[in-house]
Chain length 210, copies 2
DNA sequence: GGATATCTGTAACGATCGCTACAAATATGC
DNA sequence: GCATATTTGTAGCGATCGTTACAGATATCC
C-alpha cells in the first residue's frame, strides 16, 4: 500500500460532481470555485489529483465516455442497420432529455464547449464526437459488405446524418425540449430509413442549387 | 444635428467585427480586450455605445437576425413544403460551412453559447432559435390548411425536425465539416420528405421502446 | 518512535476579468 | 468666442480567474 496521508475523497464521486458542473455550465463557464464547491474539496486536492482544470475536464470526459460505451455497444449490436439507427436516435433522445434529474439536459460533448477563447476544448470534444461517428460508420460499412445495406449507399454520410441528428437533439434538449418532443423528431428521422438505405441516397440531388 | 464630439467609428462595422469574435469564441470566451481589439476602439467607446458586454451581444444578435431575415423570407416563400424544407436545409448547409472566410463556420445562435456560468445568454439564443422554428411551423400549418401538407401530419414536429437538423449541421460545421459533407447529410434528410409529409409521421412508433 | 511521504486547509499569488473615473479633444448652439 | 454636450484615450478600479506556497495532519516504512 502507498505511504503518506490517504485521500479524503472518492475520485469517482468527485468526477461525477465535476461532470454535472461542466455539463451545465460548459468548460469556460465552470470556475474553479464552482468545481471545488461541488466536489467538496479544496483547490490543492484538485490539483494534486488532476493536475489542472483541463486535466480534470479530460478525466471527466473519459468517465463520460465510459458511461456511454455500454449504450454504444448495445446500439451497434442491433441486428439490422434500421434497428441500429432506431436504437441510436431513440436512445439519444431519451438520454439528452432530462428524465431522471440525475444529469443536466443535453450532452457533455456538445454543451461542454463548441467554442471558446482557445480551441483546445472544442477540438477535444469534436474528436470524441467523431469517434462515435466512426463507430456508426464502421457498423454501416460492415452492413454494406454483408448485404444489409445497399451497395449504392454511403456509410460515411449515413453515420454523419445520425450524428447531425443526435447533436441537433442535444441543442434542442439544452433549450428545454421534452423527451416527447425529441422522440417525435427521432421518429420523423427514422420514418423512411428502411426505404432510404435500400435505395441509397440519390447523389444527384446534392448538385441541385440550394 | 447632435451636439458634442462625433463618434470616430462606424457602429455597424464595429458590430460586424464584434460578431466574428463572439461567433468564433462564444459569449464567455470573448473577453473585452478581444472585442475592443477587433473593433478597433477603446472600452469607454464600447460602453458609451452599447452599455455592457451583454448589451453589445444583444446588438450583435439583432444584426445577425437582420442578415438572416432575407434568407428566411426566401425559404418561406417557396411554393411547396418540400421546397421550403430543401431551401432551408441546403441553405443552412451552405451558410454554416465556412465558404467565403467572411464568417467563422457554424451559427452564432449555436456557437454563441449553449451553456455558461449564468443562463441569460443560452436562454436568449434559445429564444432566437425558437423564433425561426416558429416561422417554419407557421408556414407548415398554413400548408396543411391549403392541402399542400397531409391533415395527419404534425407541422410543429416537422418544423422541429428541420431545426434539429440545422442545429446539428452547425455543430458539425464548427468541428470543421466541409460544405460537401454537410450537403450530403441535408440530401439524406430531404430524400424522403415528400413521401413523409404525404403520409404523415407514424405516431405509433414513438411509443416503441428505445 | 522517528523518518518519510502524501494529502489537507488556509491564504494568497500574478493575471485577467468586466467596467469606469477623469481629463483632453472635438463637435454644435448662441 | 464661449458655454454646452458628447467622444476619446489613459489609466486603473474591485472582483474573480486558475494556480500554488506553505505548514499542519495523517498515513506507511523500518
Amino acid at each position: 500500500m502507498r505511504t503518506g496521508r490517504p485521500r479524503c475523497f472518492c475520485k469517482e464521486e468527485a468526477l461525477d460532481k465535476a461532470m454535472t458542473v461542466f455539463w451545465r455550465q460548459g468548460y469556460e463557464g465552470a470556475s474553479l470555485s464552482d468545481l471545488t464547491r461541488a466536489m467538496g474539496i479544496n483547490p490543492p486536492s484538485l490539483y494534486a489529483c488532476f493536475g489542472s482544470k483541463e486535466g480534470l475536464f479530460k478525466a471527466v470526459l473519459e468517465r463520460y465516455d465510459q458511461r456511454r460505451d455500454a449504450f454504444m455497444a448495445q446500439v451497434l449490436a442491433a441486428p439490422t442497420v434500421a434497428e441500429v439507427a432506431q436504437a441510436y436516435l431513440m436512445g439519444v433522445a431519451a438520454f439528452v432529455a432530462d428524465t431522471g434529474a440525475r444529469n443536466p439536459p443535453g450532452c457533455l460533448m456538445v454543451q461542454g464547449g463548441l467554442s471558446g477563447s482557445d480551441k483546445d476544448i472544442p477540438e477535444m470534444l469534436a474528436r470524441h464526437r467523431a469517434e462515435k461517428e466512426a463507430m456508426l460508420r464502421a457498423r454501416f460499412e460492415q452492413a454494406r459488405k454483408s448485404g444489409d445495406l445497399a451497395k449504392t449507399s454511403d456509410p460515411a454520410a449515413l453515420a454523419r446524418y445520425l450524428m447531425v441528428m443526435a447533436n441537433g437533439l442535444c441543442v434542442q434538449a439544452a433549450a428545454g425540449a421534452s423527451e416527447k418532443e425529441l422522440k417525435e423528431v427521432a421518429v420523423i428521422a427514422l420514418a423512411n430509413w428502411p426505404a432510404m438505405v435500400a435505395a441509397g441516397p440519390k447523389k444527384a440531388r446534392a448538385k441541385e442549387p440550394a
